[in-house]
């Protein structure tokens, strides 16, 4: 009686272990993809910040377009975009306003999505 109970329990536990190992491999792939996406976002933010810090108006506008397309920014990039609202070139100011609008829209969407999911 004891032996068969122990054998069945051991077999069930080993099956659980094998299932968890397979699930772990699948989960690992998804998590590593997320980390790649985080790395990519960081690279894009760094690139956008470098362009926005440039003295060339075309580069600044490229940087602002990148921010607009990304729809997200870190604190440093957000500050820089805010500073560009006082730029002497009207086109840069317009691009900065568009970029901030895109960020605000995405931020509101994220908040509403979070509220809906919670």
């Amino acid at each position: 009686m004891n032996h068969s109970l122990l054998s069945i329990s051991s077999a069930v536990l080993l099956a659980i272990a094998i299932t968890m190992v397979i699930a772990t491999f699948r989960l690992r792939v998804r998590v590593l993809e997320k980390y790649k996406a985080i790395e990519w976002s960081r690279q894009q933010i760094t690139r956008a910040l470098e362009l926005c810090d440039s003295n060339d108006v075309d580069d600044i506008m490229n940087g602002l377009q990148t921010v607009r397309a990304l729809g997200f920014a870190d604190e440093q990039l957000l500050n820089r975009v805010g500073q560009l609202l006082n730029h002497h070139d009207q086109r840069v100011i317009e691009h900065a306003q568009d970029a901030l609008l895109a960020l605000a829209r995405r931020g509101l969407m994220a908040i509403s999505t979070k509220q809906a999911s919670s």
Partner: protein, 144 residues
Amino acid sequence: MTTEKRLREWLLWKVCLPFIFIAAMWPVGCAMRRPDAYERAFAHGEFLIFGAFVLLEAALEMKHSAPDDDWWSDVARVAGIVVIFCYGFVYVLVVQAEEKPNFKHDLVFYACFSCSVALAALSISIYSYWRAKGGAASRQLPVE
């Protein structure tokens, strides 16, 4: 300390290393030329205590690292308590089995059960580690 680093240290110091050290009792017994090294190493339920603590630790880590993943933390905690409960029974049964004339045969079954619990607890802990890491990554992601 970042969540990732804390999780990595938890997995290494509280899960993997204790497992390796307890598992090493078997090869050590073999090196001492004991014919019943496997039974002597695992039948008394050291791996059950390990499994219970590792599952309870995984539950706590999940609670801190991924607070929105409560159900998995509860599953790990309940599993840990069940393993502790089993340990009491297994210990008493092993002591009784040792009084029998052919006790070595019985101890093999208890040792296999202990190893299965340890392997299941280890795999659940590694899964919990990746789950918590995934939760931390999701919070860092600017766009889902």
